[in-house]
Symmetry: C2
Subunit: 335 residues, 2 copies
DNA sequence: CTGAAAGCGCTTACAG
DNA sequence: CTGAAAGCGCTTACAG
């Protein structure tokens, strides 16, 4: 078995490389016989075009990069998977690039632009890095999925598709309050800034304040939203605060860690402490107790992100900010 | 902001493109001053080389593809992640390619060879497709991670790094038998063939037969190893077999589905039914009950896979078959 | 230590 | 409908 080039195929089919290229790209201006002949030869020899050569020459073809923060985040993985599905019928090619949770997305994006000449970017689960605006200035359309850039300096240049994190968090905490919980602890990330986690912290605080309660530091636990870190943070918190009666966790993964910590402290979920997560991943309903969550509409976020990006790429549409609805799903983990 | 080429840099630095290329590739034969000058210009302009052009020309550079079956499998994701870490200090570049669980890996590999001119492949969690041997004939070294090709027709051409699935399964079932379980059900995949799942089925059967028990069809449940399918299969099975006292599941994910089904049927784990999984993913110890498992040594599999592949690529080493040890970890889900 | 030139495998005006 | 030729941005002998 050998790797054939377009030139080999041309020779074997008795046509020019130009013609083979045309067939390869499904151009209409090739006679049916020629087309069939070339196609037959290509198939016989398992011909696959060299993407490097194609990418080098054909700079105007669309190549979209989906940059995903964290290979091990099931929610983001699901989202990326769905995007690729929605992208399937698009003329553009998609490549996925996983970056470390703490990596610099600006740097990675810049590299992909130089190295692979990508022409559009979807950031999945990224932080908001204002430097990315300079990429938009290069004429690279981009959309941030799951986080809103609407109230940032790059609002007019970078699109975003996200839930309304703030009102979602308000609603979530309200649900806990409505069920009689009063001593609510929040497990979240950095409260500064304008990213999803900061907005959720604000929403939670607003809900509490509306009922005359406060979210003082002691009831806001800042942690990475991983199993390990959330578990450790929860163990630590609940040991000193045996009276807490509910936990609002900013990811389902964090909620799992928190629940395990509560079990270890012999506190029952939901009888003693109600636990509510965010994201809505598959595993939620297979846990014991089944995990309550604020489910993000993954399908819709995926679909809209691809649509918005293509609008920008194909029609030169301006940046848009799409807000999609989240759904509060109460299961066994909430009383 | 503009995308600069090596030519732009050469012009700005007052040298030839050849020299810029040399600096870019850290060749020693460039004077220090020239080197610094060029490097400065590159940095100032955020220069990033075009990977297409490089890949087109430099066919002899090493590009390794890690082909992962299933984007949503946490175990395989972890494995891939670790491989990339071990690969970090290697001179070769790695690209990851996720393929659908039921996709044709041969086809994908062939495409990558043609499109990207990859020079080595690691199949992560793949089935054994004998057609892949023809890729080996093209001189593309390959290693199958997590599944052994030792007793297949491609043993001499494709390496593999895996646990001893058969004896591992024997040991797992023995552990259940030792704890007094007698009516053991196995949730696994296709029993035909020589892949990991078939080997595990054999091992389980051997363990039972050694004690005069049999693994007849009724106690072997064939299912996809997903949460949903394992859950449905378990619900179905345990409804008609209320006397089963243990379940050996061929993945931790499947075990989670099985446990949830048992809860729904009001059967206690482990008091009524012990449950044992395979893989050893992070989430296991955060579940309730904590999941017992046969942990695969991910780190070692990742490291050895990269090593074996590099041996083949750099030293032309023949195909090797590495067996790594699995570890039985008994936690709360087993009585 | 440095540069001019050929060429990797394609695509795309351009000409017929 | 078809082909000859230029060129995408690099790397790499080769010559100096």
């Amino acid at each position: 078995m050998k790797i054939y080039t377009i030139r080999d195929i041309a020779q074997m089919a008795g046509v020019s490389v130009t013609t083979v290229s045309r067939v390869l790209n499904n151009r209409p201006d090739v006679s049916r016989e020629t087309q069939e002949k070339v196609r037959r030869v290509m198939q016989e020899h398992h011909f696959v075009g060299n993407a490097n050569a194609r990418g080098l020459k054909q700079a105007e073809s669309d190549l979209i990069a989906v940059i995903i923060r964290g290979r091990r985040n099931p929610f983001l993985n699901d989202l990326a998977e769905l995007m690729l599905q929605y992208a399937w019928d698009s003329r553009a090619a998609f490549i996925t690039e996983y970056i470390d949770e703490r990596a610099d997305e600006f740097h990675h994006a810049l590299r992909l632009i130089g190295e692979r000449r990508i022409t559009g970017i979807i950031f999945v689960g990224s932080r908001i890095d204002e430097r990315c605006a300079s990429l938009a200035d290069m004429g690279i359309p981009m959309v941030f999925a799951t986080v809103s850039t609407e109230n940032t300096a790059m609002a007019r240049r970078a699109s975003s598709v996200s839930i309304d994190d703030r009102s979602m968090a308000r609603e979530a905490v309200n649900a806990l309050l409505d069920r009689g919980c009063r001593r609510i602890v929040v497990f979240g990330g950095d409260r500064e800034g304008t990213d999803s986690l900061a907005l959720r912290a604000q929403g939670a605080q607003e809900a509490l304040e509306a009922r005359g309660l406060t979210l003082d530091e002691g009831h806001y636990v800042e942690t990475r939203l991983t199993l390990e870190d959330a578990y450790a943070a929860a163990l630590d918190y609940f040991r000193s605060r045996p009276d807490a009666d509910a936990a609002f966790c900013m990811s389902d993964t964090a909620a799992m860690g928190v629940i395990r910590a509560l079990h270890d402290l012999r506190r029952r979920v939901p009888e003693d402490v109600s636990v509510l997560g965010v994201d809505g991943v598959d595993v939620d309903e297979f846990l014991t107790p089944r995990l309550s969550t604020v489910a993000q509409p993954v399908q819709e976020i995926a679909r809209r992100s691809v649509e918005v990006l293509r609008d920008m790429m194909e029609r030169g549409a301006p940046a848009q900010h799409v807000t999609v609805g989240a759904e509060l799903i109460l299961r066994e983990s909430v009383k």
